[in-house]
Symmetry: C2
Subunit: 336 residues, 2 copies
């Protein structure tokens, strides 16, 4: 696979999975400390990565979970849910995401402890956190893996996700699956990029557990890293405006999931099939997960999607457009 | 003003405001019945119209409020918050919005009462509702007015919005203000439409109390009724992807609000000013509200925005593009 370092990928995956015992120890310590609600703070890509984790957790738990945008949390008046009894969790790999840092500092000033993920112990964020999971990996599936391990271990400790140990054991098989799935998807990635990477505008539709990744790929990858104009919309909302934009030659990407929202995705698929010749359906269900129970497929679905789309499809967009995924003209280039 | 029937507008406004006593009686009855949480069901435009109402209510109340997408509510597994102790509220002017009807029917099957707004007593929705406010008006500000009257009366009854009577009294002055504000905005509406109605793509940014209307105008008006490609994004999230799309000749619309999120809008304004020549800032603060206390300006801000943008600016887009706001090629034209 082009621009894919297999050895590094597997080594990074091993390191991320190797954080399991640290994460479990942290979850157990936080459980012992106690909490009345969980407040998760993200922004942009991190907000989107936490989205399916929160989505799945809400499926199992009675504890109120708030998924907050860091910049909004800092200024909004109605944050009575944020107290010393909250379990606050955040993440910034670089550790210098301005809004995440500010939100963390705000919590600390309120006397509220913050747990979080950052690449090492030396980042600005790491130094502010009360509880740190340090991991240098940058692959989105590693973020998902670590976030799910923490979130589901917390629920396991509450008796709400009894299958945690089986789940965590089977996650040892995640990365080899995601390599094979990448390889299976590779010819499609090349084909899709060839057909659509130079399109001036694309619509992205997804729902439920895959909504975060749908939003992330269209905004954080295509808009930010490829300067491609996109519209992302949920499968339910698609029918209340965006559908009128679909024409024979308008590209629509549907990311079809495996949770109960799938019926909403199928409705979008049926409609779009009759209108556009440029419909791309990416269905995580088509990809086998060896050594991982079907019960955990929904949890793994955003990991599959990020591997094949946010990583592989993006790589092929870059190869097709020649526009480097690393180049930014504004983002983090100067103060704003 | 072109395509604006002043007499009808004022008469419709009077009718909507005339529902005040019915709405208050309903709120009082629902208060007496009791509820542990409030579940509001919308989709597309109605979801967006409820968004600022919920936003403002959350500012004042301790009662948990859930703003749910009707289609998602019907199929999602994690709806333990929806019980017989919930106060469920919905709205569909036409009364035949498929997803709203299905969600209402689902609640009824669960033995849960539903209160709602519909144009008259004969719509499909009206016949399903346990409590109905019947009002034929179609102006978005009338929806906002009725929704706020209901929501804030409920809080008043809980001792959480003591200024309710003053607020409701002053809403008698709303429509004359919104006529004058329309007239003040009219030359700008013509100018903006002349400059941007034929642009192939526009970015819309807003936040907080104005986010719903930002989302609504870009999706339900421009996408659905003008077939204009748009991206709507919150002021906080703008900086995590979409900013890279801004260029000298890319139109950006910033809807600047009056709540505490304004600092996030100002950041977008400062950034965009340095990049694009096509920045349009619409600031509700520039429009006076005679006979309405400053304390209620945040509540009125989406009403101002809908009057000048969703109604007047849309009318001028239509005059400029020649594309009728009434024409749909797919939406509600056939089964999908």
């Amino acid at each position: 696979m082009r621009n894919f370092n297999l050895d590094k990928y597997l080594a990074d995956g091993k390191t991320a999975y190797g954080k399991r015992s640290d994460i479990e120890a942290l979850a157990d310590k936080l459980t012992q400390r106690g909490f009345k609600n969980i407040v998760i703070i993200g922004i942009g890509g991190t907000w989107a990565e936490w989205s399916p984790v929160v989505h799945v957790m809400r499926h199992y738990t009675d504890v109120p979970i708030y998924l907050e945008n860091a910049a909004e949390l800092c200024i909004k008046n109605d944050k009575r849910f944020l107290t010393k009894d909250s379990l606050v969790i955040t993440a910034s790999a670089s550790g210098d995401t301005k809004e995440i840092l500010e939100a963390t500092m705000m919590c600390k000033q309120m006397g509220i402890e913050v747990a979080g993920f950052s690449k090492d112990t030396e980042t600005l964020l790491a130094k502010e956190l009360d509880y740190l999971i340090a991991n240098p990996c940058g692959d989105c599936e590693d973020s998902y893996l670590m976030f799910f391990l923490l979130g589901l271990r917390l629920l396991y400790n509450r008796g709400e996700f009894p299958d945690y140990v089986k789940f965590a054991d089977q996650m040892a098989n995640l990365h080899t699956n995601l390599v094979r799935i990448r390889e299976e998807f590779e010819p499609r990635a090349a084909e899709i990029a060839k057909n659509y990477a130079k399109e001036p505008y694309s619509i992205f539709v997804g729902s439920g557990t895959l909504w975060g990744e749908t939003y992330l790929f269209s905004m954080c990858i295509l808009e930010e890293m490829q300067w491609v104009r996109t519209k992302s919309v949920t499968s339910a909302e698609f029918f209340h405006g965006t559908l009128e934009l679909v024409e024979k030659d308008v590209p629509v990407f549907l990311f079809k999931g495996e949770d109960e929202y799938r019926v909403l995705d199928e409705r979008v698929e049926r409609f779009c099939k009759t209108i556009t010749d440029k419909l791309t359906v990416i269905d995580t269900k088509e990809y086998k997960l060896d050594g991982i129970d079907d019960d955990f497929r929904i949890i793994c679905s955003p990991m599959i999607l990020t591997a094949i789309v946010t990583e592989r499809l993006a790589a092929h967009y870059e190869l097709t457009t020649g526009h480097s995924l690393k180049f930014r003209r504004y983002y983090r280039q100067f103060d704003y």
